[in-house]
Amino acid sequence: MRRFDYLRPKSLKEALQLKKTIAGAKYISGGTDLIVQIKNRELQPTTLISLRSIPELARIEINGGARIGALATISDLIQHIELGHNYPVLIAAAKRLGSLQIRNVATTGGNLCNCSPSADMALPLLVLEAKVRLQSAKASREIPLSEFFKGPGKSCLSSDEIMTDILLEPPSQKTKATFLKKGRVKMDLAIASLALLVEIEGGRCRKARIAAGSVASMPLRLFDVEALLEGSTISKDSVSKAQQLARDTVSPITDLRATEEYRRHVVGVYMKRGLEKVFG
């Protein structure tokens, strides 16, 4: 591997300061994607600034809603009983991310900031309408996760910012959610995945939030399908319309893991399966 320096600041302030003074530096959290990218020479940083020694970044707080430090590992999430109780769909996705060795090190914020179209954590967080907090030396801003992704490997995180927190609204008793993922084996990157959150009242869908993975250049909210479902009664006909629209909305590619056609098909099937699951 190409040589680089490795720094471990103890505070957020120090981490932000270091980045400004060192040319070619990059932040590292869990590193399970980053180290591979460096090995493959997709990235050639002069210095890695580790965020793993900043305790407040790894904290998980339940405060009505939840504040998940961006450096909380996927295993930290799975082991957090209250988080799992309040947001089961988040934990369902966490359990499907990589192998145990990866989950023990990979971080929630890292999964988002890597901006893979297949990012497992993005889907439940999109349907839960999570916000992310981005901090620079000068300012802090909160943006909806749905506005964070800009393309494969691209987000609106600027080079002088650190994602510090993922923020969740208090859980609603009225909603039901599910996460579905297709991989060749359980620990694979998703061939296609779908998260679905709905609120039902008297057989009518009052609210729908849908997100799909590995079927576009970024984890995608399916706003059109949500609009179609909201206000409608759930019937064979409305489910079939939602399936068709979901298939038409996504824009997958063919690669070594699956074809475009297959990915579209899976999204349609998952749309139906997801609705059946939440409507019991």
Partner: protein, 159 residues
């Protein structure tokens, strides 16, 4: 830029001076000469490099060496018993025919150990989930799962 780090390796404190770009597996194999830990894919897919850091199984090929400062690392060499005897889990792999070429074995055993340390009586599903990140290309996984189960049974029997 070199830095000195100290950590617990298989129960003993060690100090090493290392470069920034090194990974935990580089330190284990090249600096400490502990070659039981294997590098297979180098990308976190195969699990041959699995070691235990502070109780959790991790891929040492993706673990920046600097992050090991102040932590406790257990490698396959740390399972050695007095008089060159094998540990219970190692013996179970031998007894159950869970080894062919042996390249995946140290990683497989470290994943199994991390599981059994935190969950002495795992279900089949829990065993398979804990070993999902360890690939064996010689054979299937039935004997390996059997080996882990036999140790879980023994531990249960002792209670």
């Amino acid at each position: 830029m070199k830095a000195e780090i100290s950590f617990i390796l298989n129960g003993s404190e060690v100090n090493v001076t290392i470069d920034g770009h090194l990974r935990l597996i580089d330190i284990l194999r090249n600096t400490m000469s502990l070659t039981g830990t294997k590098e297979g894919c180098g990308e976190g897919e195969c699990g041959a490099c699995t070691v235990i850091v502070d109780g959790r199984a991790v891929n040492s090929c993706l673990y920046p060496a600097h992050e090991i400062e102040g932590k406790s690392v257990t490698t396959i060499e740390g399972l050695r018993m007095p008089e060159h005897k094998l540990s219970e889990i190692q013996q179970a792999f031998v007894d159950n025919g869970a080894i062919q070429c042996g390249f995946c074995t140290p990683g497989m055993i470290m994943s199994a150990k991390a599981l059994l340390d935190s969950n002495p009586n795992p279900s089949d599903e829990e065993i398979r989930d804990a070993l999902q990140g360890n690939l064996c290309r010689c054979t299937g996984y039935v004997q390996i799962v059997e080996a882990v189960k036999s140790v879980a049974g023994q531990i249960m029997g002792k209670k």
